[in-house]
Symmetry: C2
Subunit: 639 residues, 2 copies
């Protein structure tokens, strides 16, 4: 349910989902409110008056009883429950904000939209549980146990597939059936026309059927515990891939894997991270380990190889050949995952050495492989992968961006988790920032989307120039010479979790500009390869493990993507995790994934002479050739 | 090539295969020659004179140079190489033999005939090896390694199946392909429309593709090493199933399996026997362990359960339910077989608790499941299983015979291996035996077929009466009171391997009569169940792990089978091993086995009120109702 929120005296309005945070709504409406604690209610600066409508607010000691009676709330602690009229008192203004154009609604479309995509697919998890009540055998009907199960599945659940069972299951089958008085729950792994019984439990446990969907990222591993019956996410966790200690990008990982025992070490590190994440998911949700029926994993080709213990050696060397791009269901124990013996795992198929299962998963989640529209899918991560196409054809390329978008290699960078600064506004006059963190708690660092926001705002407010250099002449205590050159202070030590100033340094900006240039160049080459330009593209999906509130305007401001109209854009958040999630819920999607991987044509950028030219031209804000960015140009001219 | 052998002065002739042993030919021709050493050339009694033709004889010190010049040979050491005329000198006669009817040729049809059956099937082993020379990857053709293998298999070998690979194979795939310069041999396991790469070796090893076919018998385990390319048996071994120490028949094994750790022990015992047999096969043939691509096993339902570690508990108790009767390909290591990681095993499907994969294998080997003729298949072992039917329908039953037919539970019983007395003639006048052993070596004991032969001969020569009781009034040193009652001495201590008299005791005869009565009763019930009698049966296959030279006339004489015409009979020897052998050579046969197992109707004898009546009536020689055996009656009247 959507609600309209009007802010006075600005008279700006925005439409948001019920339950949205009022401070975020204010940011979306480009209304300026003081906020320095990241949104956790401690600074008490974001006081607003509710003139009409209902908000639900968390208790705070920052407001007096009298203020509360007058209608004051802290915006950061308020959830929108109806249409609202909100007044911002003068004391809550950080200073005068530059006026902006109104942004289209979709700009805060969150990453939570994957469930809607699923509706167009058959909901038939590859691993299902069936509670069956069998007719016990008698002399006149004494077929073997397995056949009796098969007959009951066919009769009661219409299951037509040939059913067999793992030896490990056969070993306890007879006992369980009889102990449970022929009332058992059978867990079936279905693929093609075959089905395999992977577990039999006494009684009715059909309701307890969970999958863990995992995005095996180079920098970050994200995992979700999914209730396969209810089609809901029970909990979600992420952490840095422990392999980071062996190298920041896939190239350095591959170099490491070539050392003595390197591959074994890398495998055990990534498996270790996954095991910890699963343990957290389980302990947090109260689900039993034994009720996890399967894992569905999506990772780039190199991550998938390392996860399974396959050497990536020949991916690194020309002609860049993986061992395989297609993976069967495997017992998760077989590659070290700390689950029960009978838990199976499936890795999303990859396309080529540098376009992996994470992209295939994301493409599936976006729906573009079934769309008639010319669609661009961009995954912004340590590798930037770009896919162009529709239901008929798909072409993909990959460019190494480095870990900046995931907060890696950045001084105060962090993953998009609690405390990460993900949204920033900088006052054009006094250079004071307004920040919002994930989870609205004290700021702990800055994540990818925060970094993009920061750079865009620093550029708009002229703190940095087109080359990304900080202007030392600006008169603000926030701009100063740091340990490694010039830096801008986003949050002071007293406001931050670690008691340290949180800064964006010039070197961080350099990293980010290189990363965005690589992606911009990749997109350009891909579009040229099929002779289209951005105006022909009808739909754009942006995926990435940065925060949920990445704003299109900011993305465009720094020249990360070629210019396009805002209406075409959807953020899919972590597309890989979204694809793995919906894959765990639909056999059909896993089958389609194979077809998508087959169909996708891979364009090798290292073989493309134009790539380096385009990359170098993009090492500016937004680009050496500003005319490629007429909207940005207009905005800059407006100032 | 066949040769005609005429014996003088008897003027009897017989047609035999080239290479047949001359003493066996004499037995077949019902010609009486002295022979007490089992045919190993030590007693020197079987001297004959070759008057025309050629024999190849092994050296002997039992003949003088002069005798050799005169044309003397020892029959037991002579291989027939041409048509022959042979004279038996008076000194080589054990006494005057009773004249017999001429037997049809098929009566010495050996168990070696399985290869001819195979000709009607597609020769397409379920595990095949392909040597491929791949085009190495280049930048313009850099598909993943697995796909490259698939493409080459499709292009060069027309392989259309979807091909995937075990994780264990994927792990070394990249290295092997490159080290071997893209020339490798791929081992494929094919089932239905899928194929799985289970091994990749450098260079061309396609010629080295071997299977081990195994009959997992209750008493005896037989194993053959088969060259899957050449379709020949390289070596063959058998041994008692080490489980015998835990009980002689399936019932006692099942009782044992219910004890603490009983199942684990039984499994490890049978696996131990199989491991030893494989080790022997390998060491004898010079084949490498690593070149064994697969195992194909056939055993009764209980043996298959014990082999795989599945509890047979509910097979024993009404309503007699196995865990499963259908088995997928499993890694042999998974149930303890001592082969390489990548060796797969397949167990023949079973029909019901007491009709197993051994019978399905035998039925396949006999060809009856494709025949228009009404066929009876009888497997005479520790369990007697009987199948009646044709290509359209099959009905089966099982009756417990005990281990007597495999030499078990018999005082001097032994398996049908070297030194086992397998053929016996007893002189009607002086009660002296003429014996032939397997391998024609010194007698060591008596096997199943020898026991049948012995009982038939003792009955014909009136040493035993209709009840199987030895006549103590006969004047011969060979008939005497032994430790456990009356007995007949087949070989004296001085002639025997162990330096002990080899005897057939009355208790042994009792065991044998009970065993044959069970089988006779089973056949009778089965025939009645479909309302036919023996005269309607057009073809009869007799399988069993007894010696190769079981003679139909003898089988009939003791009333083991209802009377029938000799022409209808074929011995298939170890039908289970034959089926496992041809199964390893033909995917089509393994598929057909599933259909046969599905199609076969099981008749539970324990539920049949007539069975016990029929059994008791059959506890006579040949039967209480002698009129059921007109041919035997005629023969007895002739005397």
């Amino acid at each position: 349910m959507k609600h309209k929120v009007v802010f006075y005296p600005d008279n700006k309005q925005v439409e948001v989902e019920e339950g949205e945070n009022l401070l975020r709504a204010a940011m979306a409406a480009e209304v300026s409110i003081s906020a320095s604690c990241g949104g956790d209610g401690t600074c008490g600066k974001c006081r607003v008056i509710i003139e009409k409508g209902v908000v639900e607010q968390k208790p705070t000691s920052r407001l007096t009883t009298k203020e509360i009676e007058q209608g004051y709330v802290l915006a950061c602690l308020s959830e929108i429950k109806s249409d609202l009229e909100v007044r911002i008192p003068p004391e809550s203004r950080p200073g005068k904000f530059v006026e902006r154009e109104k942004l289209p609604e979709s700009h805060i479309l969150s990453a939570r939209g994957w469930k809607e995509y699923l509706s167009s697919w058959q909901r038939h998890p590859p691993i299902r549980k069936f509670y069956i009540e069998m007719v016990p055998p008698v002399l006149s009907d004494n077929m073997d146990d397995l056949r009796r199960i098969r007959r009951t599945l066919s009769k009661d659940h219409g299951l037509r597939a040939a059913v067999d069972a793992d030896l490990s299951v056969l070993k306890y089958m007879a006992r369980i059936l009889r102990e449970a008085d022929w009332r058992v729950t059978v867990t079936l792994l279905e693929s093609d026309l075959r089905a395999k019984i992977v577990k039999i439990e006494p009684g009715d446990t059909a309701k307890k059927n969970y999958a863990v969907a995992i995005d095996v990222g180079t920098t970050t591993i994200g995992a979700r515990l999914i209730d396969l019956n209810e089609c809901v996410v029970l909990s979600q966790e992420s952490d840095y891939n422990a392999q980071v200690s062996c190298g920041e990008d896939v190239i350095s990982r591959m170099v490491f894997s070539n050392k003595k025992d390197g591959l074994v070490k890398l495998q055990s590190l990534v498996v270790g991270t996954i095991n910890e994440l699963i343990a957290k998911l389980v302990s947090r949700s109260g689900v039993e380990f034994s009720d996890i029926s399967c894992l569905v994993l999506a990772g780039n080709t190199i991550m998938t190889h390392l996860l399974l213990g396959l050497t990536p050696k020949h991916i690194r060397e020309a002609p860049y050949v993986p061992t395989t791009t297609n993976f069967s269901w495997i017992k998760a124990k077989e590659f070290g995952i700390d689950v029960l013996e009978d838990t199976y795992a499936h890795c999303f198929p990859c396309v080529a050495s540098y376009v992996g299962g994470d992209i295939v998963a994301g493409v599936l989640a976006s729906g573009m492989s079934r769309s008639d529209k010319l669609t661009l899918y961009i995954d912004i991560g340590t590798n930037g992968e770009i896919v162009l196409g529709n239901a008929d054809w798909l072409v993909a390329c990959s460019c190494s961006a480095g870990p900046a978008f995931e907060g890696g290699g950045v001084k105060h960078g962090m993953r998009a988790t609690k405390g990460a600064i993900e949204q920033i506004r900088i006052d054009r006059n006094n250079y004071e920032p307004m920040i919002l963190t994930i989870g609205q708690s004290k700021p702990a660092g800055i994540c990818g989307s925060g970094l993009i926001d920061a750079l865009a705002e620093m550029f708009l407010s002229r703190i940095v120039d087109q080359r990304g250099k900080i202007n030392p002449g600006i008169d603000s205590p926030r701009i100063r010479e740091g340990e490694h050159g010039l830096e801008y202070v986003l949050a002071w030590a007293g406001e931050a979790v670690n008691g340290q100033d949180i800064v964006v340094a010039e070197v961080d900006i350099d990293n980010l500009i290189r990363a965005k240039a690589a992606i911009f160049a990749g997109i350009s080459i891909l579009l040229e390869s099929v002779n289209v330009d951005m105006s022909n593209v009808e739909e754009i999906f942006i995926a990435g493990a940065f925060g949920n509130y990445l704003e299109i305007e900011r993305v465009q401001m720094i020249g990360l993507l070629p210019e396009y109209s805002f209406e075409k854009v959807k953020f899919v958040g972590n597309g890989s995790l979204a694809g793995a999630s919906i894959g765990s819920l639909s056999k059909e999607i896993l089958n389609e994934a194979k077809k998508v991987a087959e169909k996708m044509t891979y364009l090798e950028l290292s073989a493309d002479v134009n790539f380096m030219d385009k990359y170098i031209s993009a090492l500016f804000l937004p680009h050496t050739n500003i005319e490629l960015f007429p909207m940005v140009m207009k905005k800059l001219e407006n100032k």
